[in-house]
Amino acid sequence: MPHQVATTVCAPVLADRVGHLRDVLAEMGADPAGNDVLPFGALTGVHFARLVLVDDGTPVLVLTLDLDAPERFRLRQLVSLAGPGLDRLLGNCADYPAAGRRSDRERLRYLRGHRAASAVFYLHAMGRTVEQVRDEARLRSRVEDFLDRSYVGLRDRSPTEVRDAVRSYVRGERSLSWAMSAPPRPALHFRLREMAHLVTVPLLLLVLLPAVLPLLLVWLLALRLHERTDAAPEVAPDPGRLRALGDAEDFGPQNAFTSLAAIKPGRFWAVTSAMSVLFADYAARHVFTRGSLGGLTTVHFARFLRLGPGNRMLFTSYYDGSLESYNNDFVDQVAWVLNTVFGQQDGYPRTRWLVLDGAHDEIAFKAFIRGHQVATQVWWSAYPELPAVTVDANARLRAGLSAALTSGQTDAWLRLL
């Protein structure tokens, strides 16, 4: 099974084409799945997609895709399905091939040439493909219906007997029998690469410790100094902007969030931002990989991306529930994570030793989040009706069909249903 890839295309927009581009984005935003420009619903292996026009002086069109690998194949499919649409969209951007020279090859070359690497890429569960998510949702729905029908006959049985009944139902349904085996894991080369990264980074740190330690102490002192003395300005979001952002939210269980903020001025914060990115990248790849971001179970995909000119950080995420609940989760549960990865951004509430305070200041944190949020003109989800906790539960349901379970595990498995 393929692993997942964060693809980002950053295309500088021609100054005189911004208005026209906005029209195209509005047309797409009205029907992200089926629009004539780039019908995301026709693509395979794409979990989420978004288009954001960053327009604060030097306009840039950002396309983000959360893909099942291989990326090369997905981009080729995109070009072959939506070539003329890509022309309408990217024809407003600098360096896009001129009208006479547009071929799928040239379009692909443009997309690949304008890719930008994510600084950090978080995903809810590595290795789970779009197909798997959708299939397991179907499995869940069918098993729930089966239990509804069989309730009277099953309620007086033992847990093991109920599980066996579910297993034999699934085994007997040709369209579900795939669920009796575990999903394949990501390719060996990917797993080896990740394992190498998992081990190498701490080893390298250990080896360099004698050299790094004094520097770290200096950095810590500088950190405290900056934290105490740097201004932490109050941000009061404009009501009109808040209204416009809210008007685009909460149509279904999932929402898309985009924010853009400058890193605080000065070398110190640039270095700290680089360190935070290294830390967050490592944590996202090796620690927060089991459907939970330090206890948070509502984020599907997220990424940080450095955006020029200037040292700005673009953050994008897909989350379940309202922005209010997303923020409350941050404040109540994982403030230290937010402090670590957002604490270097301009306007962030004052932190202490990087991880303390900061997002614990509920009012300033919420004002920071809304204050730096920018509109997401177009976004699309391959499974818009599925909250991440349901995706997880569906995967556990499937896994428990074929695994050997103890009686305690059988009880827990039945509680999924």
């Binding site: 869940r140 729930e144 239990l147 509804d148 309730y151 099953l154 309620r155 049985r157 033992s158 847990p159 007997e161 109920v162 109050e234 941000v235 009061a236 009501p239 808040l242 209204r243 809210g246 008007d247 939210e249 909460d250 149509f251 269980p253 206890g295 379940d320 529930g321 309202s322 209010e324 609940s325 409350n328 989760d329 404040v331 109540d332 549960q333 305070d357 614990h360 200041d361 509920e362 009012i363 300033a364 004002a367 009706e385 909250p387 906790v389 349901t390 539960a393 009880d411 039945l414 509680r415 249903l417």
Partner: protein
């Protein structure tokens, strides 16, 4: 919990008590016609507004104003825009409707009052009296006074005789938060004053943003100084937000659905009440299912000392999706259920409920047999108070009540409140080895009107009455800082 001393004399009585001994009540909604006359009316009204813990003295009057009403009274835009977004937007914006599940028949377009295009609502008068006759006199008196001041009467929300039982037949209003320093309550229910009033520290240890006024705009010094030390005066202090929602209840529909789900051939009243109690989370007497899963026990009617993670983590006694379990999850919240951290998170999402029922009561038996006038309107005028509409009322409604995956559920929104939503129409009764699902749960409750009001302190009322109607030279002053 360190408790700040609440300036009770400046706080409208509804925050401190439900006026329970004043068993008759009605709520009059007005639209402001003539701002100057309305301010004079408010100035005349203010001395009679019940504040503090006077105890009921025959009658009580409280008054609240919407964002539109504040603007019509002449509150300058730059001060009004320092109120939180959700209050300024009001309950009926499309975004708010999505958050609150006000869709389909419950959409604001179909409301009897408060919907788009209708008059007002600008001002709400809450009137309480010891009996129906006294209330009638009080209501007439206030109606005449308001109308003579150019206020247009939008609607009067009548309430029935005060009863502890709501129309589906269940005792209501048992679990209420208490202000720290006020009536003794278990720590889990005791909130810092800032959760229920502006101008005090909340459960984050912060002051919720409050609209501030330049000293020049308060030359008589009517308002209290901003406790944050900004040097400005605090229009919000001792005030709070009042949510009003008229919730129409289809009692016949409720019991008929429950009967269909529990009956093969013959009626089984016990099974009906058992399923209904599972949807509610308490028995008709109020006894919690968590303490008595199999039968109603009147001796537990007031019992409120229980926890879900500790007593019933998997919903085998009180289903995970039951109304009371999801609107007050007690100790079952992240970051770790069953810990004090979980309880601390829960305390940031509490509501002080002050609603009363309206319309004639009807028993389960009569409802099932179609006795009683067809189409009789009955329900609950749901009133609740909180200092942060987004983090408290809207969060409870959206993230807990209407969330189909609350507490690991699959497609279960609140069985009582979410009938007009398109998803979550399932109710699951957890059991071992296999759960029972009730699917296709219809709408039993329909919103028929509502608004977000600001319930100012007495000094703030005096200041509002003193507005000149010309925009004073203020600067925007949202209070976003807070000493920790």
């Amino acid at each position: 919990v360190t408790s700040e001393r609440v300036e009770e004399d400046d706080v409208q009585g509804l925050v401190l008590e439900g006026f329970g001994r004043l068993t008759a009540a009605c709520y009059q909604v007005y639209e402001i016609g003539d701002p100057a006359a309305a301010r004079q009316w408010l100035g005349r009204l203010e001395p009679s507004v019940a504040t503090g813990r006077r105890g009921p003295t025959g009658t009580a009057v409280n008054v609240a104003v919407t964002a539109a009403g504040l603007a019509r009274l002449g509150l300058p835009h730059d001060i009004g825009s320092a109120f939180p977004q959700e209050f300024q937007e009001g309950m009926t914006s499309p975004h708010r409707s999505r958050l609150l599940g006000d869709e389909g028949a419950a959409a604001p377009e179909n409301w009897a009052w408060g919907g788009p295009g209708g008059p007002g609502p600008d001002v709400l008068l809450l009137l309480y009296a010891a009996d129906v006759d006294a209330l009638s006199r009080l209501a007439d008196e206030h109606l005449a006074s308001a109308v003579s001041a150019g206020l247009r009467h939008v609607v009067t929300l009548e309430t029935g005789p005060l009863s502890p039982t709501e129309h589906f037949g269940f005792r209501d209003g048992i679990s209420q938060p208490a202000l720290a320093g006020g009536r003794p309550a278990p720590p889990r229910d005791t909130l810092r004053a800032g959760e229920l009033l502006l101008g005090y520290r909340n459960e984050h240890g912060q002051y919720t943003p409050s609209p501030l006024v330049e000293p020049a705009d308060d030359p008589e010094g009517l308002l209290a100084a901003d406790v944050r030390g900004s040097g400005r005066h605090d229009l919000g202090r001792n005030g709070t937000y009042l949510v009003v929602r008229q919730l129409s209840q289809d009692v016949q529909g409720f019991w008929r659905f429950v009967a269909e789900q529990t009956t093969d051939d013959v009626d089984d009243p016990e099974a009906q009440v058992r399923l209904a109690a599972r949807m509610v989370g308490r028995w008709p007497s109020g006894a919690p299912l968590t303490l008595s899963p199999d039968r109603d026990r009147r001796e537990l009617a007031d019992a409120n000392d229980f926890a879900y993670q500790a007593d019933d983590p998997y919903g085998l006694r009180c289903p995970l999706g039951a109304h009371v379990r999801r609107t007050n999850p007690r100790d079952s919240l992240p970051p770790k259920a069953g810990t004090s951290a979980s309880v601390a998170v829960g305390k940031r999402h509490r509501l002080l409920r002050r609603g009363r029922s309206y319309g004639p009561p009807i028993s389960r038996e009569d409802a099932l047999e179609g006795r009683g006038e067809a189409g009789t309107e009955r329900g609950l005028h749901f009133l609740c108070l909180c200092a942060n509409l987004a983090r408290q009322f809207e969060f409870v409604q959206h993230t807990w009540a209407l969330n189909p995956v609350f507490a690991g559920l699959y497609d279960d929104a609140d069985p009582l409140l979410s009938g007009h939503a398109t998803t979550g129409r399932t109710f699951t009764v957890q059991a071992s080895p296999v759960r029972r699902r009730v699917t296709g749960v219809p709408a039993f409750v329909t919103v028929r009107g509502g608004a977000y009001f600001f319930l100012p302190g007495a000094r703030a009322l005096r200041w509002l009455a003193s507005l000149s109607g010309q925009a004073p030279a203020s600067t925007p002053s949202p209070a976003t800082s807070s000493p920790r």
